[in-house]
């Protein structure tokens, strides 16, 4: 088995073992649960095509998560080239959705980095080191970002956040 074939095999293992989490993160980042399977599929097609560009200076799984996040981020951005509908009101929300609405509002107020750290931590269950690889930041920054994001979300949800 040559190096590239071996790496494709590793990519397949990540795909097969982590698909629900991959879809969930793609849904969270892109804002579309419906599009998530297609986004992950597209990300892995890109990964297999570009497997030779994986330099091996970090874990392969982190490289794959990075591609998934980037594809989902682009998916989130591209529709903004066409205006109007995003400016229009969405359907009524019931009072049962209030907590979710507050969380959604709080999430929208987080920085993109904070949101990504939250998604990768809670939806993909990645450790700080892997999240750091995915977002090309330091582990310490991951921790600080997660703490500040949690504080903001706790405030929105009126949850008393324990201090470390």
């Amino acid at each position: 088995m040559d190096v590239a074939a071996g790496r494709v095999w590793e990519v397949e293992q990540v795909y097969r073992s982590r698909l629900p989490e991959l879809w969930r993160v793609a849904a969270a980042v892109s804002g579309s649960r419906e599009a998530a399977p297609d986004l992950v599929q597209e990300a892995f097609i890109r990964a297999v095509r570009g497997i030779d560009s994986f330099r091996g200076d970090g874990p392969l799984e982190a490289w794959l998560w990075r591609i998934v996040v980037n594809v989902a981020r682009n998916a989130h951005r591209e529709p903004e080239t066409v205006a109007l509908s995003r400016e229009l009101p969405v359907g009524d929300s019931s009072s049962a959705d209030d907590a979710q609405a507050e969380l959604a509002t709080a999430m929208s107020r987080l920085s993109e980095r904070q949101r990504l750290v939250v998604f990768l931590r809670y939806y993909a269950d990645l450790d700080y080191a892997t999240i750091a690889e995915v977002l090309t930041i330091s582990s310490g920054t991951v921790g600080a970002t997660l703490t500040s994001a949690r504080a903001a979300l706790a405030q929105a949800l009126e949850v008393k956040e324990a201090t470390p």
Binding site: W23, Q41, E78, L88
Partner: protein
């Protein structure tokens, strides 16, 4: 101890209970050349055996309908389908509500005066909206007349955004005397209006034509090919044509799409639009330089800068020179097709006389000017 934030996040994006991927599809798509990739929707249709299950009588009726549509198009002299507005089915309530909402959404004094009660369902089209490379989905065109003689339209979702899934995108045309500060969605006017998501590398062209003199709408590509875009023309009181053209995957390269043009019966350009940033193409060349003359075994190096790579290669061969390519960008990310690449720099310089068989180095990229 439960974590209330984790619980809230759990509800925010619930876990996927079952996730069935298709690894073989990943491998197949990754191995296929970009232009040769089939859209998943086609595959799923074929796999389902849909066509095999269609009874012969239904197939015959479908064939007659298709033939009638073709005859209609031919009768009008250009690839369009004419839809009678008043006999079109009414739009569902949520779309009429959307039309009412855009009246309310417009800034003071700019109300498009769309008549929501007359909103009609015009046609459907399958295309990929919102995200490059996703499976094409079915979208519906709804159009409402306005009291000012214009119209508002919407291509329905899904647009791959939770908040937009049922709304789609739309715009209005025909309001008179709008200031320059008016939102863009109120100014979908002019003989040719188009929206091309994807920047200099669009994957979809949505548009309208408002001139009855229009006979052809075409997409012109840098490789010299032209594609005619089918248009659905809506009768009075709309009097406009609508189209949704998915750019072929083989043309998903920066500056591959040069322009979309509306032409009259004599081939005159009524309207023309270019993708954002495509003016960079103005400096690029798609014509081979004059042939060099070999004198005493030596030849003048041709000017290959800003020339399309396939033409640069042909020029070198013609002038008895060899080529050597280097890349400005990651070659793994560059298209294989030389028609989508450009010679950005060369060595030796143009005009220098060198022995035939000399190697001319070219630095190649998708865009020499960025």
């Amino acid at each position: 101890v439960t974590d209330p934030i984790a619980e809230a996040l759990d509800k925010f994006v619930p876990a996927f209970q079952s996730a069935e991927g298709d690894w073989q599809a990943v491998l197949k798509a990754a191995a296929a050349p970009a232009s040769g990739r089939k859209i998943p929707a086609e595959r799923s249709l074929r796999r389902s055996g849909f066509w095999r299950r269609v009874p012969a009588r239904v197939a015959l009726v479908a064939a007659v309908v298709i033939l009638a549509a073709v005859v209609t198009a031919v009768a009008f002299g250009w690839p369009q389908r004419v839809v009678d507005f008043f006999s079109s089915p009414p739009a569902p309530t949520h779309v009429k509500n959307w039309v009412s909402a855009i009246n309310a959404k417009a800034p003071p004094g700019m109300d498009p005066l769309a008549i929501s009660g007359q909103t009609k369902k015009i046609t459907t089209a399958r295309f990929n909206a919102g995200v490059r490379g996703l499976r094409p989905r079915l979208h519906t065109l709804y159009v409402a007349p306005t009291k000012s003689g214009g119209y508002c339209f919407q291509w329905s979702g899904p647009w791959h955004r939770i908040t937009l899934s049922s709304l789609g995108i739309g715009a209005c045309a025909g309001s008179k005397g709008l200031p320059a500060t008016a939102p863009r969605w109120l100014r979908a006017s002019g003989p040719l209006w188009i929206k091309m998501p994807g920047g200099s590398d669009p994957y979809l062209v949505l548009g309208t034509v408002r001139s009855g003199a229009t006979r052809t709408v075409a997409a012109r590509f840098a490789d010299g090919t032209t594609a005619t875009i089918p248009v659905t023309w809506i009768s009075a009181p709309i009097n406009a044509g609508f189209f949704a053209y998915p750019v072929p995957r083989s043309q998903w390269h920066p500056y591959a799409l040069l322009s979309v043009v509306a032409l009259d019966a004599n081939g005159r350009v009524i309207g023309s639009r270019t993708p954002p940033g495509s003016s960079v193409m103005a400096g690029m060349r798609t014509t081979m330089p004059p042939a060099a003359t070999v004198v005493a075994g030596r030849v003048a190096v041709p000017n290959l800068i800003d020339l399309r790579l396939d033409l640069a290669e042909r020029t070198l061969t013609r002038d008895h020179l060899l080529g050597f390519q280097g890349f400005r960008e990651n070659p793994l990310k560059l298209p294989d097709n030389a028609k989508h690449l450009w010679a950005c720099f060369q060595s030796p310089k143009a005009g220098k006389r060198v022995p035939t068989g000399t190697r001319v180095s070219l630095l190649v990229g998708r865009d020499c000017h960025h």
